[in-house]
């Protein structure tokens, strides 16, 4: 099998050719490393490529297979890891100068699970600094480019993971989603991304942005591949006190079922209309027609407090982030500035943080500090937490009537690099449809539904399900994906430029 062919295969297909020994894990890994070497100079999806580690893992998989050991379905399948996850001995920067050169002395639970499943980790992907952003332009190491159009953003914060998939550098990737950082990059790169239920995937070793919102999840080029990865990374972890101690919903079975007959799907009135690009709305409406044709019952539902989600989010997130990021003080790891023997510890901390953090991180730290300061706490943080309750109630009321909710994932297709980087409010609007799920803690998936007619760029549809019903996303996603594949004769991602 040629290198070119191997990098076009899905994780499910790779799993087959690996287990039937048509190819070795080393061959698959080399094919992807070669692809990265050839296209990543123009895409910049990766911050660190772990050639040596990846080939060592692949060799180990081949040795185990040769010895007749029973291996998991993803054994030998390559994966790109968002640089927000600690991986022992491998640089972990979170896209920040403050962590440049830091090599964690331990593995995140997600990484341990990937290793146990013999997944081959190719390297660490680019992201907005500390996952703050929707374009990957806030990375201290330069932006990632969208493989569909190199002048455009790949979404964010997980733009590196999404771009790695769309550029066929990896068939699987790990993302994290605090306000849409898995789903919005998936939407604008024509890939699939899932934000599992809060607590479904361990946060141990995930560098915290906003602890009550952060959730790691799978990124892939197909619904089935996402389900295979979901099944590997999800599950109870005693090292994360917010981890759900219940069986993981049967996501893989759901992804292979793909049957929406009799399902009730609600279209969220507040996540449509003004602010949504015409081509996004057009493709969304077409996808809804397909779902109806497949036998789903589609109704409109109203979630009135979603209009306040963005405001609540941009108080809760900065508040939690300003507290979480206090650990980057130049004392125990990472950058230290101004330690000249004269400066005291507080000066060194201030100099380190000033030098180590980028503009968006500083902006959010100060908003959070303000929102939590005495005299303002009740008016800002306290009120935002009440809005969170109202949004949960909106979801609960909607899920009384329907099995799933749907909306466009992002209001627009990928915008040009540089267009919004100095306008924080315009940037924040990218997350308007993804944020309610993070605030309420339930789960959602974005999958590609076509190219917008006006700019020929990918559009994503978002399914939202109740907490702990992640399997519903995979069932509906698989049904819609199959119908679109029938119509086009291939998955949308096959239309991405060759690079």
């Amino acid at each position: 099998m040629s290198n070119e062919h191997l990098t076009r295969l899905s994780a499910a297909e790779l799993s087959q050719v690996l287990s039937s020994r048509e190819v070795s894990a080393v061959e698959v890994t080399r094919a992807h490393l070669d692809r990265i070497a050839s296209v990543d100079p123009s895409v910049h999806a990766f911050l660190h490529i772990d050639d040596e580690g990846a080939l060592a893992s692949a060799n180990a998989v081949d040795a185990k297979r040769a010895a007749g050991e029973a291996l998991g379905p993803l054994a030998g399948v390559p994966l790109a890891l968002k640089d927000v996850m600690a991986m022992r001995g491998v640089p972990t920067t979170c896209g920040s100068k403050v962590l440049e050169g830091w090599r964690p002395p331990y593995d995140a639970t997600v990484v341990s699970r990937l290793r146990a499943a013999d997944v081959v980790i190719l390297g660490k992907t680019n992201m907005d600094e500390f996952a703050m952003g929707s374009s990957t332009e806030h990375s201290a190491y330069g932006p990632t480019r969208n493989p569909w159009d190199l002048d455009r953003i790949p979404g964010g914060s997980g733009g590196g993971s999404a771009a790695a998939l769309a550029a066929f550098e990896a068939p699987l990737a790990i993302g994290t989603d605090t306000g849409g950082s898995i789903r919005q990059p998936a939407a604008v790169t024509g890939t699939v991304g899932v934000k599992p239920t809060y607590g479904a995937v361990s946060r141990y070793g995930l560098v915290a942005l906003a602890s009550s919102l952060d959730q790691a999840g799978p990124c892939a080029r197909s619904v089935e591949d996402a389900a295979m990865l979901h099944a590997v990374i999800a599950g109870y972890d005693p090292l994360d006190s917010t981890s759900i101690n219940e069986p993981v919903p049967s996501v893989l079975e759901a992804a292979r079922r793909g049957d929406v007959r009799g399902l009730k799907i609600g279209l969220v009135k507040e996540l449509s209309g003004e602010g949504y690009q015409a081509g996004v709305t057009q493709r969304f409406n077409e996808a809804v027609e397909i779902l109806t044709g497949l036998g789903a019952e589609v109704v409109e539902v109203s979630c009135p407090h979603f209009d306040y989600a963005l405001a609540a989010y941009y108080l809760i997130l900065p508040s939690e982030a300003s507290s979480n990021l206090a650990r980057f003080d130049g004392m125990r790891f990472g950058l230290r500035e101004g330690d000249d023997g004269d400066n005291g510890v507080e000066q060194v901390m201030s100099l380190t943080r000033e030098a180590g953090f980028g503009a968006e991180v500083k902006r959010r730290i100060m908003i959070g500090t303000y929102a939590l300061s005495s005299g303002y706490y009740d008016a800002y943080y306290g009120q935002a937490q009440k809005v969170r309750t109202l949004i949960q109630r909106d979801f609960a009321a909607a899920f009384e009537k329907v099995d799933l909710l749907a909306s466009p994932t992002a209001p627009t297709t990928a915008f040009r690099i540089g267009d919004k980087v100095d306008d924080p409010l315009a940037m924040y609007l990218n997350d308007v449809a993804t944020i309610p799920v993070n605030l309420a803690g339930n789960c959602a998936m974005s999958l590609p539904i076509g190219l917008a007619p006006e700019d020929s760029l990918p559009v994503g549809l978002q399914f939202m399900a109740p907490a702990k019903a992640d399997d519903r996303l995979y069932n509906a996603g698989a049904a819609l994906e199959a119908a679109l594949k029938d119509r086009w004769g291939h998955l949308l991602i096959e239309e991405a430029p060759a690079l």
């Binding site: 830091w102 002395p105 990472g334 009440k386 809005v387 309420a440």
Partner: protein, 97 residues
């Protein structure tokens, strides 16, 4: 509501950010706009609405108190900007008069 340059300087101090003069001007302007925009949370959150701090309700999550292996001191110090005699070395923490 308006946020002054002095208030930004105070916030920067609380957040341990040694902001430069041009940053203070820039952030004063931007924080004003952002805070005005997010203040609308107050429009809907009535007194009888409870606050949600955590999306999936859990209380008192405990684990058995069993010893397990942890990082060695060498591993824990491996990323330290400065270490001495098996400890983190930090700048002076008291003012010298």
């Amino acid at each position: 509501m308006s946020i002054s340059r002095d208030e930004v300087a105070k916030l920067a101090h609380l957040a341990r950010l040694d902001l430069q003069a041009d940053e203070l001007d820039h952030y004063a302007e931007q924080l004003d706009v952002i805070l005005a925009s997010v203040a609308r949370v107050a429009e809907v959150a009535a007194a009888d609405v409870p606050a949600t701090s955590h999306p999936i309700p859990m209380t008192n999550v405990l684990r058995p108190d069993v010893p397990r292996t942890s990082l060695t001191s060498q591993e824990a110090l491996s990323g330290a900007p400065s270490a001495q005699e098996g400890r983190f070395r930090v700048p002076r923490i008291l003012d010298t008069e």
